[in-house]
């Protein structure tokens, strides 16, 4: 216990130290030279915004076995959660919470939003296993169940601020985070933990699509 206390204390201290580090003024984005170069190499129509997590160059496979990049979600509001199918504690609750968020959306939005589950378990949660999970939980066509390799999963988790580790029994310890993305793939809201916050998540999603 004492050890934990020390740990938290240092965590906090490091954060404080990081915040107090003198930060130079953010480098202006609009360097005409770079902007021109960027525009030349990537047509504006296909470029993601600077805050878009769709910039992540990661490939996933959906539960029908098709290759899937997150950028395909562009244009639709997204509710995203990282999970693993054999999880007996939080993950089933998180899926239920995502269904509850869907239930709170205005009707028009309910049919446009996409619900994405990305598995930590790169070994066991194959597309086939995810298809079984879809059937078990009766998830309809608005759900995407994604399998990725180690790299893709770790990078996505890092972007979302999700921590996880595989325990010796093969289960995963992980943060419980539901993330709301706007049509550009920017994080507009995160519900952290397991209690409450569903109205706020639904409201954030509705606001993001206005």
């Amino acid at each position: 216990m004492k050890a934990q206390l020390v740990l938290f204390l240092f965590s906090a201290a490091f954060l404080a130290a990081a915040e107090n580090t003198p930060v130079p003024p953010a480098t202006p984005v609009a360097c005409p030279h770079c902007a021109a170069a960027a525009a030349a190499s990537a047509p504006a129509a296909s470029a993601f915004t600077r805050e878009s997590i769709y910039q992540l160059d990661a490939k996933f496979t959906d539960d029908s076995g098709r290759t899937f990049t997150l950028g395909e979600l562009r244009g639709r509001p997204v509710v995203l959660d990282m999970f693993f199918a054999s999880c007996g504690y939080a993950c089933p609750l998180l899926v239920t919470d995502m269904q509850a968020i869907r239930g709170r959306l205005p009707a028009a939005l309910r049919d446009r939003a996409v619900f994405v589950l990305v598995s930590f378990d790169v070994t066991r949660d194959t597309p086939v296993a995810l298809a079984q999970y879809r059937a078990q939980r009766a998830l309809d066509g608005q759900w995407r169940l994604l399998h990725g390799d180690d790299d893709s999963v770790r990078e996505l988790a890092a972007l979302l601020g999700v921590k996880y580790r595989q325990d010796s029994d093969g289960m995963f310890s992980h943060s419980n985070v539901i993330t709301i993305l706007n049509a550009q793939g920017e994080i507009v809201h995160q519900r952290i933990g397991l209690k409450g916050g569903l109205d706020e998540a639904a409201a954030a999603l509705a606001a993001a699509t206005r």
Binding site: Q4, L9, F14, A17, P28, C34, Y89, R154, K163, S168
Partner: protein, 272 residues
């Protein structure tokens, strides 16, 4: 809980062992990587279900941290990782903040000093570009657990003296050159005494990084992480590294956080 901030600051002041004390590192390959043999690592924190030690396979590790000169080569080749171009998702506003310009490290970032103010994403992108990867926590800690003259450095008094002296010293405005620290048992330098380093799986550290969020809320914030505990509460420096990792986000950069790369050993050739 309310330690004076001054004391915390003192404890957190970071780095730089006197350079020198060198000696010829036996196992340096041409690429500047050291062959670290297989061994066992006892994780600092584990759940009751976890085994006391995990095995670490033999691998290659950079002899020293990546330097400004090396990072300059990378950003020159990969424009999206330049300071003016990088997305805020992948590095915060202080990314390479001590460099004079996008392609000019300048006087505060000497060519042979370790590059700092780099994010996990940037460190990883560099490693990938170089055909390498970041070391895992287990690999890094296993290697760093060695003393100067033996594989178990826990009771290496000189190492401990150097380590704690470093922890107590402020970060110099301009970091000294990488690769001049005394090599450890395996021939790897600067694991202690120069900068903190990113590891691939930094985000396995199961605390939220915010002390106010870590106590009663823990069971809700983390699935399955109810009772993690420390095996060796005397390993103060390892606690500090663990605390740093758990407090970091992948886009964070700090004035004393750099990285080095690792690589799997080449597959053994088939022998009939």
């Amino acid at each position: 809980m309310n330690l004076p901030l001054g004391l915390l600051r003192f404890l957190l002041l970071l780095p730089a062992l006197p350079a020198g004390a060198a000696g010829g590192a036996a196992g340096v390959s041409e690429s500047g990587m050291i062959h670290v043999p297989a061994g066992n690592y006892a994780p600092l924190l584990r759940t009751p279900k976890d085994p006391a030690t995990v095995s670490v396979a033999a691998f290659l590790l950079d002899e020293r941290p990546v330097t400004n000169a090396e990072f300059l080569t990378f950003v020159t080749a990969e424009p999206k990782w330049r300071r003016s171009a990088i997305s805020p998702l992948f590095a915060d506003a202080s990314y390479l903040g001590h460099w004079a310009g996008d392609l000019a490290p300048g006087p505060n970032a000497p060519a042979d000093a370790p590059v700092v103010r780099v994010s996990w994403f940037a460190a990883r992108a560099y490693a990938r570009w170089a055909g390498k990867r970041l070391p895992t926590t287990a690999e890094w800690e296993f290697t760093a657990g060695a003393g100067y003259t033996r594989p178990d450095g826990k009771n290496d008094e000189q190492l401990n003296r150097d380590l704690y002296a470093w922890l107590a010293r402020p970060v110099p405005a301009v970091l000294p050159a990488a690769g001049r620290g005394r090599p450890n048992f395996y021939g790897v330098r600067d694991l202690h005494g120069l900068v903190w380093e990113w590891v691939e799986d930094f985000n396995t550290a199961m605390v939220t990084g915010e002390s106010r969020g870590d106590t009663g809320l823990e069971r809700d914030l983390f699935c399955g992480a109810g009772s993690i505990g420390a095996k060796d509460t005397t390993d103060y420096a390892a606690f500090m590294r663990q605390a740093l990792r758990s407090s970091l986000k992948a886009n964070n950069t700090t004035t004393s956080l750099g990285f080095r790369c690792a690589r799997d050993l080449p597959q053994k050739p088939f022998q009939p």
